[in-house]
């Protein structure tokens, strides 16, 4: 049994490589070297960064907040990051620059700080409060973003639809190089915290009694979430439900231990975004279906199931 996660990781990695290569060649346009290298190449690498980043962020949020329903988009981090990125651009920065990346991180961090500080009461992170706070933060950030996009030059700030449903179609190598360092550092941080996240499942007081510095673990996890999600969002928009679905699916297969869970989720998230992005550009060709729409169509019904299950396991919410 113990070899199963390792074997699964290898299999997933091979599938990711196969699909990534496939994604370079699938499509109606001529598969010239220029299209493969300049258009599909960065898109495939971005899919890997976005998919692994969102899935890892989901694992970290769920584990550090003891909340099986946490997802970067559902709790408002993505909306905050999108707003931060657009705000930086409307202040004169260009997309996929250090300035827009920092704007996105600031937006994501503020959103996350607001929702977590509201949802942790008496040292107990509350499942439902986090989601409700996420609704409010998403609505607020979305409204400000709409205002900014409306009053700015629309080619500079992109459309509201782009921000709400996401697309990898504008990805360039410059975008990849902007997003990659943040996702790599975030993934590096998450790799160090598997054991502490396991123990956090006991609740704050019991974990503390075992010598785990709960606040430090939580801060570190949430900083990693901001790095994993924000800059990606400022580059490709908000793609919801990936951070929710992937960790749950993976947990059902390999169990809840965070070591294997983080590794396999990163691979599975990559796979999910690679497949949905490739689907988004081929199913209705020449029109692109927004990738966030595809993940939401799949994700929202499963979210209902997870709500029911979580509510049952918690003995109901008043």
């Amino acid at each position: 049994m113990r070899s199963r996660p390792a074997a699964l990781a290898v299999i997933l990695l091979l599938i990711v490589i196969a699909i990534a290569i496939g994604a370079l060649y699938i499509g109606v346009a001529d598969t010239t070297t220029s299209i493969i290298w300049n258009i599909r190449g960065p898109r495939v690498v971005m899919a890997i960064l976005i998919g692994s980043g969102l899935a890892l962020a989901g694992v970290l949020m769920q584990g550090s907040l003891s909340n099986p329903l946490a997802d970067p988009a559902l709790v408002g981090v993505s909306a905050g990051a999108a707003l931060g990125g657009v705000a930086a651009v409307s202040l004169g920065a260009s997309f996929n620059t250090a300035f827009s990346a920092l704007g996105a991180c600031a937006g994501g961090a503020i959103a996350l700080a607001v929702v977590t500080s509201i949802s942790i009461r008496n040292r107990v992170p509350e499942v439902v409060t986090l989601l409700l706070a996420g609704v409010a933060v998403t609505a607020f950030a979305g409204a400000l973003l709409t205002v900014l996009v409306s009053v700015s030059d629309s080619t500079a700030t992109r459309s509201v639809t782009f921000w709400s449903t996401g697309s990898l179609s504008l990805t360039t190598w410059a975008a990849v190089l902007t997003v990659a360092p943040f996702v790599i550092v975030g993934a590096g941080i998450s790799a160090t915290m598997a054991n502490s996240l396991d123990v956090l499942s006991l609740g704050d007081r019991a974990a503390n009694a075992l010598g785990v510095n709960v606040s430090a673990v939580r801060y570190r996890a949430l900083i990693a979430v901001v790095l994993l999600v924000s800059v990606g969002v400022s580059s490709v928009g908000v793609i919801a439900f990936v951070g929710l679905l992937v960790p749950h699916a993976v947990r059902m297969v390999i169990g809840p231990r965070h070591g294997p869970l983080l590794l396999i989720s990163a691979l599975a998230g990559t796979l999910l975004i690679l497949v949905t992005d490739t689907a988004s550009r081929v199913v209705a060709n020449p029109i692109e279906v927004p990738i966030g729409a595809i993940t939401a169509v799949v994700g929202a019904p499963i979210f209902f199931i997870l709500i029911r299950r979580t509510r049952a396991s918690q003995g109901g919410w008043a």
Binding site: S201, G203, N213
Partner: protein, 242 residues
């Protein structure tokens, strides 16, 4: 020759969520069983939280094995005392064995995995968890889950156990076995502090009873001194026959 494992000296505590405590002076001897009793809202759990360093005293000092608890690191505390909280929910479906094994975390790097496994196996057998070892802890009944957490606390091998209502959720046999385990612990030199509502069961087997009332220690002493109709009625604010 006994010495205090735990000393609360003129402690008061204020916290938004917990009951306020005033002028607490309590000493728990090494190798003894102390039980904290009192009406709901009298500050029993708050007192245990102070002992566990979950709550810092506003004034006064809490000494654990001769050291100021507030000056010890989390890791040092975890080697000296184990804590069972009332909360037994585990957020994700870890197996029973996983959860029990976490009790060894304070000792990582100081004991071998063979030693850890031996300790875990022994305690799991003691608490009759062998058959449940690979079950997800989220699928267990309240009583089973409580046994898992008691096992986790025992596996920690701390000289002081602080147990908040360890007996709730347990059936009559479970409580009897728990008492047996605690007395064994004390016999082998360990110290145990339990918060309980079952004074009639735990009181008489304790070395010391701490009777709380309205955030103060009402009476503290040997069971025969504290468990009287007079002091209980006065602490509970209502006639109570012992």
């Amino acid at each position: 020759m006994t010495f205090p494992i735990l000393d609360l000296i003129d402690v008061s505590a204020r916290s938004k969520e917990l009951i306020r405590l005033h002028a607490i002076n309590v000493s728990v001897q090494a190798g003894s069983l102390a039980c904290i009793i009192g009406p709901n809202g009298s500050g029993k759990s708050t007192l245990l939280a102070l002992m566990a360093a979950d709550l810092a005293p506003t004034t006064g000092r809490v000494m654990l094995a001769g050291q100021d608890l507030s000056k010890m690191t989390l890791g040092e505390r975890a080697k000296q005392r184990a804590v069972l909280t009332q909360e037994t929910t585990v957020s994700f479906p870890f197996t029973v064995r996983d959860v029990v094994e976490w009790g060894r975390i304070p000792w990582l790097g100081t004991t071998t995995s063979a030693e850890n496994n031996e300790i875990v196996a022994e305690v799991m057998t003691q608490l009759k968890l062998d058959e449940l070892a690979n079950r997800p802890v989220t699928s267990l009944s309240g009583g089973e889950r409580k046994r898992v957490h008691i096992a986790r606390v025992l596996v920690q091998k701390a000289p002081l156990l602080l147990l908040d209502e360890a007996d709730s959720d347990l059936d009559l046999i479970g409580r009897q076995e728990l008492d047996h385990l605690l007395l064994q612990q004390v016999k082998s030199g360990g110290s145990v502090v339990v918060v309980t509502h079952d004074a009639r069961r735990v009181g008489p087997i304790s070395d010391q009873v701490i009777l709380m009332s309205a955030g103060r220690v009402h009476t503290v002493g040997k069971p025969s001194e504290v468990l009287t109709t007079d002091s209980l009625s006065s602490a509970f604010g209502s006639p109570l026959k012992w």
